[in-house]
Structure formats: structure tokens, C-alpha cells
């Protein structure tokens, strides 16, 4: 088992290198210099200085090497546009808010989505199942900006229960978390229902019942456990889903998180920030996939033997 984990952890290194490389190569293709946005024309000497400072005068593979070194020493370099700030600073300021938002949305999605899927599967082909699935189909399709706007309109504006935008105390955090969590919740409900229905058909569930086990234990241990294992694999894409959604939600609710800042940085051509944030977000997904694989190995003994 330990061998499997170590191998899996080491495998993420080349993956990370590839993703950094792709991001790096893409960013090099972006047209326009960040420096031309300064008010005065930049003298050639200053420009050369700046380029030396940011290693822009070196060949691309050296730049890449420097960047990789930076990533692995957790130093993403200075911002090209904001004087005196480096990317780490920006991440430190903006990331915690995005992370918090994402976490709440994720919790909302799990705490509501999983029970919804379980109930729908256990009451298969009844009105409970049908309405749960209708509900999840709708929320799977409705764009999050509509959910957010309607929530603000009815809950914040009309009813006045919570403020419309911002990210300070807890009452500010309710609506954005729910708005971001609805899509993943629908996804969870569908996934869990699907795997539950499949597991309920398994021979070993019949064995468990034939042993006289109580319904609680059959469903709780034999069915639920084996149904949730495949659902875990959705965590990576789900994180991507939440990251994408956060771009929109942060904009609507005026939350100073990563998503909002990303758009600003792109239009300001602040390459180092865009690259830093892209690598951070990709790294998160890669890390999530790593955790999922290890968890899978722990929970499903079959994969353990195959992979080690």
C-alpha cells in the first residue's frame, strides 16, 4: 500500500511539469507586452533592465527552468504590472476567500446531493425518485449566474434576509455558497443515484440480505460504501466545475477571490500572475486526483493489488 502511494505521489511530478510547460508555452504566445501599458514610453535601457529582472532575456528553456524551480520552491515570482507585489502575495490575499467559498459550496453539494441520490435510488421509480431527478436535471442545466441572480433578487432584495454582495461576515457567505453549490449538488445526486442503483443489483447485496443482516446494515455498509467509492472519482472534475463556477459567482457577489482577479490579470497582461494562478488551479485539480486515487486504493482493495 505504501509503495502504491509513493509511486502515485511521484507520478504527479511529471504531470505537474507537463501542465506548467503547457501553461508556460501558451503564455509565451500571448501578444502584447505588459510594459506598454505604463503611461510613459519605456526607454530601451529600462526595458532591457526589466527584461533582465524577469529573466525575459534568457532563452525559453531557461525561463521554463527558472519557473519550474520557482513553483517547486513555492515562489511564483513578482507581478509584472503591480510594482512591489509578487504572485505569492496576490495568492495569499485572494486565494483564501475562493477556497472558503469553494469549500462551503462543496459541503452544501455533498450534504444535500448525496442524501438526495440515496433516497432517489432507494425509492426507485416512485414520485420521490422522479422529483429528485427532475430537480437535479434542472439544476444541472441552469447556469449558475441565473441561480445567483434569482437568489439575490428574492432572498436579498425582496426578503432582505441577507446582504446582496461582499464577503465579510457569515451572512454574506450564505448566498454565494449556495449559488455555487447547486450545480455540483445536482451532479452528486445523479451520480450517487446511478451507482446506488447499480450496487443494489449486485450479487453480494443479495448475499448480505440472505445472511439475515438488518436493512440498515445492508444499505449502510454494503450498498452505500460500495456506491460512494466510484463517486469519489468525480472529485477532480467536480473541483474543476467549482473553480469554473467561482469565476462567475465571485463576479456577481463582488467577492475578491481568485476568479475575479484572474480576469483582471488577463486584461492587464500580467503574465506572471495569470501563469501563477493557472498553475495553482491546475495544481489543485492534480492534487485532488492524487488524493482520489489514494483514497480509492484505501477503500477498494482490488485496485491496490492491481497497481502495486
Amino acid at each position: 500500500m505504501l509503495k502504491f502511494i509513493v509511486r502515485r505521489v511521484f507520478w504527479t511530478i511529471p504531470v505537474l511539469l507537463v501542465v506548467i510547460f503547457l501553461t508556460f508555452m501558451m503564455m509565451r504566445q500571448v501578444k502584447g507586452s505588459p510594459f506598454r501599458h505604463t503611461e510613459r514610453a519605456v526607454p530601451a535601457a529600462v526595458k532591457a533592465n526589466l527584461e533582465r529582472k524577469f529573466n525575459l532575456d534568457k532563452p525559453w528553456y531557461m525561463q521554463y527552468a527558472y519557473y519550474v524551480k520557482g513553483v517547486f520552491t513555492l515562489d511564483l515570482g513578482p507581478s509584472l504590472v503591480l510594482r512591489g507585489r509578487d504572485v505569492n502575495d496576490i495568492i495569499k490575499t485572494h486565494f483564501p476567500k475562493s477556497a472558503e467559498l469553494g469549500l462551503y459550496a462543496f459541503l452544501f453539494a455533498i450534504l444535500l446531493g448525496v442524501p438526495l441520490g440515496v433516497v432517489a435510488a432507494l425509492r426507485h421509480n416512485t414520485w420521490v425518485d422522479y422529483s429528485a431527478m427532475f430537480f437535479s436535471n434542472v439544476f444541472h442545466a441552469v447556469p449558475s449566474f441565473l441561480i445567483a441572480t434569482l437568489l439575490i433578487y428574492f432572498v436579498a432584495l425582496k426578503a432582505g434576509w441577507v446582504p446582496t454582495s461582499g464577503w465579510t461576515s457569515w451572512e454574506y457567505k450564505i448566498l454565494p455558497s449556495i449559488a455555487l453549490g447547486f450545480g455540483p449538488m445536482a451532479l452528486f445526486a445523479r451520480l450517487v443515484r446511478g451507482t446506488m442503483l447499480e450496487t443494489l443489483q449486485q450479487d453480494y447485496v443479495r448475499t448480505a440480505r440472505a445472511k439475515g443482516l438488518r436493512y440498515r446494515r445492508v444499505v449502510g455498509l454494503h450498498v452505500l460504501r460500495n456506491s460512494l467509492i466510484p463517486v469519489i472519482t468525480a472529485a477532480g472534475p467536480l473541483l474543476g466545475y467549482i473553480i469554473t463556477g467561482s469565476f462567475v459567482i465571485e463576479l456577481i457577489f463582488n467577492i475578491p477571490g481568485i476568479g475575479g482577479y484572474y480576469v483582471t490579470a488577463v486584461s492587464a497582461r500580467d503574465y506572471s500572475v495569470v501563469m501563477g494562478l493557472t498553475v495553482l488551479l491546475s495544481g489543485l485539480v492534480i492534487f485532488a486526483n492524487l488524493v482520489v486515487d489514494i483514497l480509492y486504493g484505501v477503500l477498494d482493495p482490488r485496485t491496490r493489488d492491481v497497481r502495486t
Binding site: 453480494y204 440472505a210 446494515r217 460500495n226 477498494d300 482493495p301 493489488d305
Partner: protein, 338 residues
């Protein structure tokens, strides 16, 4: 009183295409310590019979529409699910066809044995573990105490079936239902699992129902045999009598399909396949269900009305208008090479 008595059991599947009469009025009984074999082609309703006894049929679409299952005089079909759970595993245990999928892949063998013990007896985990090791030894799994912590995928098919047997025996049930216990196993393993089952049955003084499509399996291990066809019992007798003097044309055909490994006519006797297929069990005609495949049917009552299950001689029941002993004359003609 018989240990298990099934009376006129009917289990139907209510599907979109119509009502499938999977089990259509069958009766039999199993005495304490005896073994009954239920034989038939796949789809004849033998597994549904077993699952109906256990109350494990998938509801919906299946439903027991009538009949009773008397276990020690108590009708299991009327018991609540809660009460049934006390019977399952404790009084009646069951093992299934496919040992590869019948064990939960994410729990250790030990957990799957001890959870059964602890469900029915109030014992501490330690004692349950001890009992589990004894059970594994009893089903002849080597290094039993080490293997308790292993997951099912580390066991071969035959070993898994032994584990299933250990689970079934864990609470000393009075009746063991084995649904095609050897079908999914390698031929070389089949015999040893069958022997094991038979040994354990006599040691534990259990009654047993073996369900199979393989006449060879029931020949050695059973006291009585019921032959099922299209949801009904078509012949029922003691094993000896059935093999020596089969009455129903279907049973004869089944025995004809059994390869003979001894005797001198092995060289020139061919395996005879039964022509045709079992009938559709949605709205079957009122005639004898075997009539379309029967070589003796035609031009008489059996194509228009269902023959009754009758006792043709003591202890030998048959549902046919043309049992072997009543057509002694045609027999020679029928057996002559065509």
C-alpha cells in the same frame, strides 16, 4: 412434520410486456436432514423458487401471488421483513451460483463471516473471529487464521465458494439452499465442493436443497429429486427411482443428455439434445407446457389441457399424459435408432 413444506407456490413477475409466471404452482417438502435436488433448464423457475422461500425475490417486479412456504409450520410468506431477517442466515442459509460476485469486494472475508455470526448471536468480536477461523478450517481453507484479513479478490473461485459455504454454516442453519453451487466453478473443483457440501450436511445434520441444471450433480448428493419445467414441477421421486425409471418424457430427455462414462454403449450412444426451447411464460397456453417439444404428444388431451401432477406409483409423481410406464409398447419403437 416436514422441515420445509412448500404448497402451491406461485411467484409472478409483473413486467411491461406482461405477467411472467416464473413459478406457477409448485409444491414439495424437505424432511429434516434430507437433501432435495431441484433440476431444470435455466429459466425454468428453480432459482426464483429458492429466492421465494428466502423472501429475496426482487419486489417489484416479482411478487408471490399465492401459496405458502411452511418452515417448521410457520408460513414465511406472511412474516414481516423484520422477522424474516431473523430466519435468514440463522434457520435457512443460502449459497449462490457465482462466488466471484457473491462476496462484497470491499470487506474482508473475516468481516463477512463474523457479521453474520454477530447478527444472530450476541457474542463479542473476538469469539466471532475464533468461530470464523474454525469455519474456514471446516471448509478446508488452508492457513485459515491468516486468510481472515484477506479480501475476496485474493481467493480463487472454488475458495470463494468455500467461504460462501462457511458463511452459510456460521449459524448452524437447519436448511441450506445451494443455488447452482458448482456451475461457475472449474470442472476439477466442482466435485470437491460437492463432496464438501455433502460431508458438512451430514455433520451438521442439516437439510439441503440443491438447485442445478446438471443431472450429474444431483445424482450422488440427493435423496429426492424434483424436475422443474416452465415454472412447474413435472416429475418428483426418490433419486434412485427417478434415475432408474424416469417417467416424464422431459426427464428422459434430460437423462439422455447426460454423458455416460461407463458401460459398453458409451461408444455408439450419442448425447441427445432436446429440440426446441422452453415456452414463453407470459400467458402460456392451457396445454401441457412440454407438449411442443414432446415426442409423444399430439392428437390427444395434452395439447388442450394441462395434465395433473399424479402419483403414478408410491412416491413417484409425474405431470404427463405419456409417462414411460404407460407407454411400454411404444418405448422400444422410440428407442430404436431412427
Amino acid at each position: 412434520m416436514a422441515l420445509l413444506e412448500v404448497n402451491d407456490l406461485r411467484t409472478h413477475f409483473f413486467t411491461r410486456e406482461g405477467v411472467v409466471r416464473a413459478v406457477d404452482g409448485i409444491s414439495f417438502s424437505v424432511e429434516k436432514g434430507k437433501t432435495l435436488g431441484i433440476v431444470g433448464e435455466s429459466g425454468c423457475g428453480k432459482s426464483v423458487t429458492a429466492l421465494s422461500i428466502m423472501g429475496l425475490i426482487p419486489q417489484p417486479p416479482a411478487k408471490i401471488v399465492s401459496g405458502e412456504v411452511l418452515f417448521e409450520g410457520q408460513d414465511l410468506t406472511t412474516l414481516s421483513e423484520h422477522k424474516l431477517e431473523d430466519v435468514r442466515g440463522r434457520e435457512i442459509a443460502m449459497i449462490f451460483q457465482d462466488p466471484m460476485t457473491s462476496l462484497n469486494p470491499t470487506l474482508t472475508i473475516g468481516t463477512q463471516i463474523t457479521e453474520t455470526i454477530r447478527r444472530h448471536y450476541d457474542v463479542p468480536q473476538k469469539q466471532a473471529n475464533k468461530k470464523a477461523i474454525e469455519l474456514l478450517e471446516e471448509v478446508r481453507i488452508p492457513r485459515a487464521s491468516e486468510r481472515l484479513k484477506d479480501y475476496p479478490h485474493r481467493f480463487s473461485g472454488g475458495m470463494r465458494q468455500r467461504v460462501m459455504i462457511a458463511i452459510a454454516l456460521s449459524c448452524d442453519p437447519k436448511l441450506l439452499i445451494a443455488d447452482e453451487p458448482t456451475t461457475a466453478l472449474d470442472v476439477t473443483v466442482q466435485a470437491s465442493v460437492l463432496d464438501l457440501l455433502d460431508d458438512l450436511r451430514s455433520e451438521h445434520d442439516m437439510a439441503m436443497i440443491i438447485i442445478t441444471h446438471d443431472m450429474g450433480v444431483v445424482a450422488e448428493a440427493t435423496d429426492d429429486i424434483a424436475v422443474m419445467y416452465a415454472g412447474q414441477i413435472v416429475e418428483q421421486a426418490s433419486t434412485l427411482d427417478l434415475f432408474d425409471h424416469p417417467e416424464h418424457p422431459y426427464t428422459e430427455a434430460l437423462l439422455g443428455a447426460l454423458p455416460q462414462l461407463e458401460g459398453e454403449d458409451i461408444r455408439h450412444r450419442r448425447l441427445t439434445a432436446i429440440p426446441g426451447r422452453p415456452p414463453d411464460l407470459i400467458d402460456p397456453p392451457a396445454a401441457c407446457r412440454f407438449a411442443p417439444r414432446c415426442r409423444y404428444a399430439g392428437g390427444d388431451s395434452c395439447t388442450e389441457q394441462m395434465p395433473e401432477l399424479r402419483e403414478i406409483r408410491k412416491g413417484h409423481w409425474v405431470r404427463s399424459a405419456h409417462p414411460a410406464s404407460e407407454r411400454a409398447g411404444d418405448r422400444a419403437a422410440a428407442e430404436a435408432p431412427a
